[in-house]
């Protein structure tokens, strides 16, 4: 009875979408030769697709409104796998072994892809500090990534400085940019902040594109050296493997640092700021300073990732630093779960690796990101792996002593 009502509704919705998408999906014109192509079969796809999707949509919406109360009462199997030592210890060992032997069992090409994915893990973790922990929606995160990449490329080009000198320089310059941009904009309300950061990032990209004497314009900078290893000469395959290990180390470092920050006095202040700015200030927290720290620390990781990216690809140009890149990193954070470290790692790997191995994903990559952002916000705003609050245990025996037990992602 109820299901038929839903089916009927889905049917009407499908009809609506058939009408709505008709001109765009069916007609295709060749304006030069004045030919019109009619792709009637698309109507069928749209009809079936929207019927199924709208049915599922209604189902999930109803499920969501029913389950609001029960969230977090019973741990899901995934959660148990992640947090119960019985399961996660062996899993960790397997992952560690796999990570170490990866370059020896897979091809050069695959190692390169994995390295790229790890760069996005770093970017995701960095943006997670800003968006996930502090609630600062930064739509221009890619600007800091660009600052890192260009500081390595340019300082190397002009002054011949090496990778290991420029890695901290790139990180510091990015943090500096974070503060520079942050100082004026962090007073702004959340949505304005989003737009201003987007504006800043576009300005930086357009300058890189047009200021030829400074940044070599759209043609970019090539022949950026790969990082050295105590002066040993590496061929391209070896240096790809070296790059891979470097990124594994930096990702571990990022995970460690973000985890520590998250469960610290500062991390708590970020969370409080995300929850309620005014109450947070009234509780004695300096809003501007706390936000700036989040911004600068987030930017630092992007700066480092930028240096690593430039070293890995040996070529950069402004096209790598568009808004879409920012949107992709944001999708990683949203999909993974704001504030959740494990979630972001998994999401970064999924978002970069899936399109490489499944053709469907690579064709529809961007449209899927869009869909991911919408559906996650509506059905699972906490992400695939929701962030869990740290729990404290009280030992009320010796003068009220409480110990923190850590079970965060």
């Amino acid at each position: 009875m109820k299901i038929t009502a839903e089916l009927k509704k889905s049917f009407y919705i499908a009809l609506w979408f058939i009408l709505l998408t008709f001109p765009i999906m069916v007609i295709r014109v060749n304006t030069i030769e004045q030919i019109v192509i009619w792709r009637w079969v698309n109507l069928l796809y749209v009809g079936i697709g929207s019927f199924v999707l709208s049915f599922l949509w209604q189902l999930f919406l109803k499920k969501k409104s029913r389950s609001v109360q029960t969230i977090g009462t019973k741990p899901s199997p995934l959660r148990r796998l992640l947090y119960e030592p019985k399961f996660n210890r062996p899993a960790l060992v397997v992952i560690a072994i796999f990570t170490i032997i990866f370059p020896f069992i897979f091809s050069h090409y695959q190692v390169n892809i994995m390295t790229t994915a790890l760069i996005y893990v770093m970017l995701g973790l960095g943006l997670n500090i800003e968006v996930g922990l502090a609630g600062l929606l930064d739509l221009g995160y890619v600007a800091f990534y660009a600052v890192g990449a260009y500081s390595y490329a340019l300082l190397n080009y002009h002054f011949g400085l090496g990778f290991w000198t420029l890695l901290p320089v790139g990180a510091i310059l990015a943090a500096f940019f974070g503060i520079l941009i942050g100082l004026p904009v962090l007073r702004l309300r959340g949505d304005y902040l989003a737009i201003v950061t987007l504006g800043f990032a576009e300005i930086i990209r357009l300058i890189l594109e047009n200021w030829n004497t400074f940044s070599f314009g759209p043609s970019g900078i090539s022949n950026i050296p790969r990082p050295g290893l105590f002066g040993i000469k590496l061929n391209s395959e070896q240096s790809a493997i070296y790059m891979y290990y470097l990124l594994v180390i930096f990702c571990l470092l990022a995970i460690f640092v973000v985890h520590r920050l998250k469960n610290s006095r500062i991390g708590r202040a970020w969370n409080a700021l995300r929850e309620d700015e005014l109450a947070c200030q009234a509780a004695g927290i300096d809003k501007t300073r706390t936000k700036l720290t989040a911004f600068a620390l987030g930017a630092t990781w992007a700066g480092m990732a930028g240096v690593l990216f430039a070293a890995k690809t040996t070529f950069i140009n402004p096209a790598s630093f568009t808004f879409l890149e920012s949107a992709m990193i944001l999708s990683i954070v949203v999909l993974g779960g704001m504030g959740s470290i494990i979630g972001v790692v998994i999401a970064a790997l999924a978002i970069i690796l899936l399109p490489e191995y499944l053709r469907v994903f690579s064709d529809y990559r961007m449209i899927l990101f869009g869909a991911v952002l919408i559906t996650m916000m509506i059905f699972r705003p906490q992400g695939i792996i929701a962030d869990m609050r740290k729990k404290y245990e009280s030992h009320k025996t010796s003068g009220s002593k409480i110990k923190g037990i850590d079970q965060n992602g």
Binding site: R265, I266, A279, G284, K401
Partner: protein, 265 residues
Amino acid sequence: MDNVLEVKNLTLNFGGLQALDNVSLEINKGEIAALIGPNGAGKTTLFNCLTGIHKPAAGDIILHPPQGKSRRLNNFKINQITTLGIARTFQNIRLFGGMTVLENVMIGRHCRTGAGIAGAILRDKSTRHEENLIVNESYCILEKIGLNIYVNDLAKNLPYGAQRRLEIARALATDPFLLLLDEPAAGMNPQETKELEDLIYSLRDDHNLSILLIEHDMKLVMNLAQNIFVLDYGEEIARGTPQEICRNPAVIKAYLGVEASAEYN
């Protein structure tokens, strides 16, 4: 008697609306004072001025801390005022809903502690020590307020009365000497209100607090306050002891409706 807070001729308008008009008041050390008045009288707005959320157009807010020198608060930032020793609660509860009850209180300790980024990452001995201290102190506050059964629950899942008390706990964690409570009993049943009354007394006595509270529950106000200030349309229409206020014709006039409804409570 020495006062901890002096407000002189405070004035504030929102566009055409005169929200505060030449309001003056003093809070004595160790005193419980009440600020009453009909809805929209400007009580919350006065709190907002005292805590730096709104900047008054004219007048002075002067703080006399028990230790240290007096200060004019007019141009201080919100968090600076908290650090100086004024803490407040919000009428429309503003907790950090997605954080645990204990964490809400721990946030209050922020301005009295100092671990930085390096400390957070390296987690050295002094940072660990400070962190343990924050946890223990916060836990003690929760115990005092009677919220220790909720320690690890999310703040948004607490029952209403407990949320109001958690607001007080968070404010208390900032080590204030002046506590501003905005309708702490709103939405509480008589039993809870009675407990709140005892709590407010014990806060004053155990923590050497001076307290200014806004409240519509006249019985509670009459029981608690030594001194009452009455606002109406942004103007101070009366001040005095509970007995004096009860008899004041201006107050009775402004308050008739509310007084009548207070009897049902």
